[in-house]
């Protein structure tokens, strides 16, 4: 375990972040975009945990932040999906391009 430095973990999280970014850029489907956002949030979580683990091993703040991020991610996902489904029902499409004229 000690042979893995924090940089390596950060590599993973950064890569994951940009993978999420890529998805966000290329996908036009709201659900897939939501998935990409989840990836981004997760990369952040990895960072929190890694920092907590390697830099402040005595504290728990990173852990708490992670938990709260997960909580917020869940709430966000729930609301986002409710919106997506609502949008689908009124527009019959969940493509962002189609929904751009959305007023409310």
């Amino acid at each position: 375990m000690n042979e893995i430095s924090i940089t390596q973990i950060l590599f993973v999280s950064t890569a994951l972040f940009f993978i999420g970014m890529y998805g966000l850029f290329t996908r036009r489907n709201m659900i897939t975009m939501l998935m990409a956002i989840e990836l981004i949030l997760n990369s952040v979580n990895i960072n929190f945990v890694a920092f907590n683990k390697y830099l402040y091993p005595g504290k728990l703040d990173g852990v708490f932040f992670t938990i709260f991020v997960i909580t917020i991610a869940a709430a966000e996902a729930a609301v986002a999906i409710a919106i997506i489904i609502n949008l689908y029902r009124s527009h019959h499409s969940i493509d962002v391009d189609d929904a751009s004229e959305l007023k409310y």
Partner: protein, 172 residues
């Protein structure tokens, strides 16, 4: 090179491959499944970092909740068997370039920065510690966020319901 390192590389490779597949597959259901694997991989990473509690939370919330919800919404909103349209060429190229440069830049920054790794033996994160700190009302306690979370959840729930039921009025 010991077992732990190998496992770390395996997990990382798994996370990244699954992540890449999740954003590139054109079948939306498979995309959700890859996302799921990526998330499970992240949970495994937490396990590897001996943050079992976070790992379990990750699995419960993401795998048991969010992904199931995403899958349901996939069924609800589209033909899950159809391939999604290919993203525009220009957009793909732009996205790839942006992402590669961004990544290179960020990673460069990270590796330049010398993290002062405290070599204190990492503590085992006990659930009871989390609990005590969460409930404590002292300066480092998290009781306020804890209660605020409940309000956040309440708000989210009401939001969902309002949004979902809004259609009801529209239809009438």
């Amino acid at each position: 090179m010991n077992a732990s390192v190998i496992i770390f590389y395996l997990i990382s490779a798994f996370i990244l491959t699954a992540g890449i597949l999740a954003v590139t597959t054109r079948k939306i259901f498979r995309s959700a499944i890859w996302l799921l694997f990526s998330l499970i991989g992240i949970a495994a990473l937490y396990f590897w970092m001996q943050m079992e509690f976070i790992a379990a939370v990750q699995i419960i919330v993401y795998v048991g909740g969010i992904v199931v919800l995403i899958i349901f919404s996939i069924f609800l909103t589209q033909k899950s068997g159809d391939e999604m349209p290919k993203p525009l060429k220009s957009r793909t190229i732009f996205a790839t370039l942006a992402v590669v440069f961004g990544f290179a830049f960020t990673y460069n920054l990270i590796s330049e920065y010398g993290f002062t790794s405290l070599n204190a033996q990492p503590l085992e994160v006990k659930v009871s510690d989390i609990g005590t700190q969460m409930l404590s009302t002292t300066e480092h306690g998290f009781v306020l966020p804890f209660e605020v979370v409940s309000i956040l959840l309440l708000a989210a729930m009401i939001g969902c319901i309002v949004i979902a039921i809004k259609v009801k009025q529209q239809e009438k």
